[in-house]
Symmetry: D2
Subunit: 242 residues, 4 copies
């Protein structure tokens, strides 16, 4: 989902920064985002900011205003949670169908290579992760993964769902936290990439589906942690009481 | 999905008749459907034919031609199978979430009443089913069911998926077969309606999800039987070899 | 589980009759069962009664008294429910593993033949089932099915679990009810036999597991219906409150 | 499963050492294990060796010889794999039932405390784990966990299965490997302990079952890694070709 031309470090940092401000409540639903102001604040040029805004609109966090420019979309915690759940369900189905119907060797090899390239994002000595690179390659993995079952219907649906608020596989990455816990979390995520492919290769559909669901749920957990520190400003007014 | 005003016997019969002709290959993808010709052939007026065509477009089997009127959509067996699979997955998720989060009593009661009204479609003496009525009330059940988890995201997605080719819960009903086997099949479907609600009431999410998936799969089985007799004319050229 | 030499009509009728008396509370836990009295009551000779008692001990409903003879075992509704659940879980696992690892053609053919022989138990004109025959062949199906995954561990465990109270696949058959509803219930059970094998043949492990679990649950439902009419006398004192 | 009096460092080291020798093929099925020889080799007294042998017999890896003493049991890789699978299935069921039926607060609190005590086994600065302590407390967690669903049937079955070869939750711990990868593996296992309880607390049965299955599968993965280095000597002659 993350477009190649967004790989530019500046644009991705802008994505992280704006996302954090939405989650922390510094921006509210309906707020208009000005390119110039953001560019100045982050001390980068306007082009990467424009790319970042466009990317966040694709993720469903912003929407284009009728008067031009972008505003923060109005959504509650339930919408976010259910969108992530939905991605897990669809990726789980792709995993199960790939295991049951058999996946093409070419696609499996391609995914294996992406996994190796994600390994390179981890500095196992200093316990740090290159997040810009991780976001890019993780997005590449999930985009490629969506094609694995050979079902055009599932591929199309999944690609649509990934554009919902926070349902993008890289939506949980942020600038903020830099900790051992975070490092371990990304290790777990990367291990799940491997385990999903292994289960598919062995024809274990139930297991492949379960891991893919757990993988999406990790984003949910991560989001929950972020929100525990910065409770979503607009949650109370939007989310339904159950 | 089946609109109330379609309840008219004539319109629903037209739906069944046209669907059968598509499945049996009498109509091919791209064929244009003329209101007048169909009305004459079925010996009914043009208004119910227009309703039927509009309904079948909503199910994804026809599409509006740029020049007005409707043409048969081009889709293969895989698309149909995957759309039904997708409905099963989403209805399964609604069932599971309703069991886990708890479903509103008002909605559960409403569904119970619809189930009782479906019972009335069965003539247990003559082993016959009033299919027009069944189609209407079954559609009502599934439309109401989509709201049961309280998740707007799931409700919206499900309602969208039901408009895909053959993914509508009543898409497998046809004029053709009238047999003991068919009667038993609808008994099974109706029993599944009951079992899903029972599992939800008991908070058994895994079971509720499994039955809902099996319920959608019944449509798949039924379609397979129909196609075994009348192999889908346009299957070979459209479906991918696996 | 049902031994061949039990096929004798008299012995199986004795099994049904004694089981009904336990469920209806005419016998209580600890009650001693006398061969002579039962033989007289059912107007059959003592040999089939002895076979029936031995069979019910194998099902876990009776236990051998230290002084010889059999007494009713002490168990609550929870034990029964959990034993049936456990059988469903293990048969589900056998189904899933068979789908994932591939099942031997010889065994699949054997199961197909047993299914055809079960078909013969149904009188589709009069809507009646030959229950003695059904019990025998159904037991044969489940015994053979336990070997399908090729896992000796699963086969051994399953065979052990089937000896728990009411966990035998034929434990829910009784003399009492003779109704349309009962006929449909057995039709559903037989259809599930077919669907499990079909899912395995297609390599659909998740689906095969789900149907096998639902199949065991049918016994639970049937038991619940019986108990709704004849509440298990010894339930209250034995079952845990949840 | 790990008895308190085995907590003694010496006994547990003996358990690890003997297990490694079985896995590495230094001991073969049928080999007799002498207390004196092992005590001398490990330079410890005979009492902890006797405890270790008794513990390994409880795990199903040794059996008591008719002439006294212990011999290595004869089992293939399939038996091990299926036993671990079986434990995952049963623990998964306990997790699901606990989520669906509701778990007692007292038991949940007890498990929470055990999890905190497992945290203490991790040296997050040096990336090391105190394995003796981990083995003990992990065993305590799984023993307590088996009671969580309130089902006596499941508790009894699970406790029986944990005595099968390698199905014990601590059977995959060994003296050998001491690496970053191993540290991360135990972090993942401990995170799963937390995630299972969280899913149960939220009433998410499907998720709880899936994580519990994945947790048992981790033992399988770990075993596979060990065997990749030291292929099980007696595998070829015992395991079935699939």
């Amino acid at each position: 989902m993350m477009k190649k031309n967004l790989g530019a470090t500046h644009a991705l940092r802008a994505v992280f920064a704006i996302r954090d401000k939405i989650l922390s409540g510094q921006y509210s639903p309906g707020d208009r985002l000005g390119e110039v102001a953001i560019a100045e604040e982050l001390n980068i040029s306007r082009t990467p900011v424009r790319d970042a805004l466009s990317h966040l609109a694709g993720e469903g966090m912003l929407e284009r205003a009728s008067t031009g420019g972008f505003v923060i979309r109005d959504f509650g915690f339930d919408d976010i949670a259910d969108s992530i759940e939905l991605r897990g369900i669809l990726e789980g189905t792709v995993a199960r169908l790939a295991a049951e119907r058999g996946a093409s060797k070419v696609r499996m090899n391609k995914l294996d290579k992406i996994i190796l390239s994600i390994d390179e994002c981890f500095d196992t000595e200093k316990f740090k992760v290159n997040r810009t690179l991780y976001a890019e390659r993780n997005a590449e993995f999930h985009e490629e993964f969506g094609k694995l079952s050979g079902s055009e219907v599932m591929e199309r649906e999944l690609s649509r769902v990934m554009k919902m608020p926070f349902a993008s596989p890289s939506a949980f990455l942020s600038n903020k936290k830099e900790s051992r816990a975070y490092y371990l979390e990304l290790c777990t995520a990367q291990q799940q990439h491997r385990d999903i492919l292994l289960a598919i290769a062995k024809g274990q559909g139930t297991r492949a589906e379960a891991i893919a669901r757990a993988h999406a749920n990790l984003a949910m957990v991560s989001l929950g942690e972020t929100l525990a520190i910065n409770p979503l400003k607009f949650t109370s007014q939007n989310s339904k009481s159950k």
